[in-house]
């Protein structure tokens, strides 16, 4: 048997979802294969438990482990890094917990936080940076202003208050009895210093983010918000979003 054939058989024997194919292995080898097979599942389930600690806490050991094994069978790890085993786990939970959307949204929040934790370093623009950059702006300059956001920023639409669930689990606070939101919103995840953080976005803040992240100008943002809220309120909202983003350390550059 070639090395490639042996490795294919060995891999199948320790990762398969059904009973392992025992043919061709002697008794000592079968005993050893059981060690590798057990270690494979245990290691990956423990990795997902560590990456999705709040989701694990929310749905409990049995449901979480069943979902984790389902995910690993459907999406066997392919990357050189074990941390990537959790990629797409939230999508798996959408399928498995279709009646409980907060489960997948909580997992997506945790995944985005894990990615922010190891995202590229970048200094956020301070209020002073913003003041200096815009000090000599004319009306035309304001209209043409664009923003870059810090690397690792993720903005996702959500139908449930997964942020409140995360805090309730982390802080031991009251668990929301009904996590569903009256209307869809968005949650932003980024890193301040070394610490991943997140917050639920205000009504049309998510849409505003999306517009600017596509490269739109501040003028375009104002036009969109004026269309929704009228001239005075639209401009006020655009200004308040930018002030908040600067305070949150989400803006990397103004140009």
């Amino acid at each position: 048997m070639t090395l490639a054939a042996l490795q294919t058989r060995f891999h199948g024997a320790i990762t398969g979802s059904g009973a392992p194919d025992d043919a061709g292995w002697d008794e000592a080898q079968r005993r050893g294969l059981a060690v590798y097979r057990n270690a494979y599942r245990m290691r990956l389930v423990e990795t997902l438990r560590a990456s999705f600690e709040k989701t694990w806490s929310w749905i409990g050991d049995d449901s979480f482990d069943t979902a984790a094994i389902h995910h690993l069978v459907a999406h066997p790890p392919a990357s050189w890094t074990l941390d990537e085993a959790g990629r797409g786990f939230a999508d798996t939970l959408v399928e498995l917990f279709s009646g409980d959307p907060e489960v997948a949204e909580l997992a997506a929040l945790e995944w985005d936080m894990s990615q922010a934790f190891i995202g590229a370093d970048a200094a956020a623009a301070s209020a002073q940076d913003f003041a200096v950059a815009t000090a000599a702006y004319t009306d035309e300059d304001w209209a043409a202003m664009r923003l870059d956001f810090v690397p690792g920023l993720a903005v996702r639409p959500v139908a449930t208050d997964c942020a409140a669930i995360w805090h309730a689990i982390a802080d031991g606070g009251p668990i929301p009895s009904d996590a569903s939101l009256p209307a869809p919103r968005a949650v932003a995840v980024w890193r301040r210093g070394f610490q991943p953080c997140f917050r639920m976005l205000d009504d049309d803040e998510g849409e505003s983010f999306a517009l600017l992240r596509q490269g739109a100008t501040f003028g375009s943002l104002c036009e969109m918000l004026i269309g929704l809220h009228g001239a005075e309120e639209g401009v006020r909202r655009a200004g308040s979003f930018i002030t908040r983003w600067i305070t949150d350390e989400i803006v990397a550059a103004i140009y």
């Binding site: 090395l3 490795q7 005993r31 790890p77």
Partner: protein, 280 residues
């Protein structure tokens, strides 16, 4: 090519539980730390900040788990490039991985799987090592793994395979004494024959660790102190190979740092005895 230096210090694996100890005001009494390379092959954030801060104080050895040097499907070049980037940043004593394979056909089990010690496997391993050493621009160290499955019909012993691998590629060895003990017990070979069969001048680093008893097999769990039988085998290794960079590996049930430092002190003893004998 950057040749791994003859470095005879004593160190520990850098684990998250001890980051605060290594970043505190007091310099920890170790000659080097070993990092798991993959934990730092990231874009940024706290992991790289921590690594840079530790590197300012200590020599660092890079130890990987994902090279899959025995994979019949070849190596992941993106992985090698990222590893090279980290090595350029860290300027480590050396870069090591394991004589094993971790997956096939694009899948990764994230385990150190055993190779058959055959002529074909040796050809594949040596070709993979040549590529990796070319990308990393340095000879690499490879560690003998613990194993739970053996392929006795393959033809070579593990130590014959390691010796031939070193001769053909110019790589070096990271000798894991606990792994020799575990595999010897699991597969019924003589650990002294293993030591006697290795090229002494290729051993650059030694790992010491604990293991546990499984169902008829010893399991390399790194969750317990080094046992007396492994300490005895370590003395045999030192007698044959002389001093080498030596460290304790603990990856589970990690105790406070002072406990590991105390265990590490025991590793110095055989060398002190050897030096005293030489001086007498």
């Amino acid at each position: 090519m950057i040749t791994p230096p003859r470095f005879h210090g004593f160190g520990l694996g850098l684990r998250r539980d001890h980051y605060a100890d290594f970043l505190g005001d007091e310099r920890q009494p170790v000659d080097f730390v070993e990092i798991i390379s993959e934990n730092f092959m990231v874009e940024g954030g706290r992991p790289l900040f921590t690594l840079d801060a530790v590197r300012e104080r200590h020599a660092v050895a890079m130890h990987g788990v994902s090279m899959s040097i025995g994979s019949a499907g070849g190596l992941d070049r993106d992985y090698l490039r990222r590893l090279r980037t980290l090595a350029d940043r860290v300027r480590p004593l050396w870069v090591s991985d394991h004589l094993c394979w971790t997956g096939i056909a694009g899948h990764n089990t994230h385990d150190l799987l055993p190779l058959p010690y055959s002529g074909e496997a040796l050809d594949i391993v040596c070709a993979n090592i040549a590529l990796a050493q070319d990308v990393l621009e340095r000879p690499l160290l490879f560690e003998n793994p613990s194993s739970y499955v053996a392929f006795p019909a393959a033809g070579m012993s593990e130590w014959q395979f390691l010796a031939e691998m070193c001769a053909r590629t110019g790589c070096y060895l990271l000798l894991d004494v606990n792994n020799i003990y575990v595999s010897a017990r699991n597969h019924g070979f003589d650990p002294i024959a293993f030591l006697d069969g290795l090229p002494a001048d290729r051993v650059r680093q030694i790992h010491l660790a604990g293991h546990s008893e499984g169902d008829g097999l010893l399991i390399d769990t790194h969750d317990a102190p080094v046992c007396d039988a492994v300490w005895a085998l370590y003395e045999q290794a030192i007698a044959r190979f002389g001093p080498a960079a030596t460290m304790i590996e603990r990856d589970d049930a990690i105790p406070p740092l002072p406990v590991l430092l105390e265990e590490l002190a025991r590793a110095r003893h055989p060398l002190e005895v050897a030096r005293a004998k030489a001086a007498a």
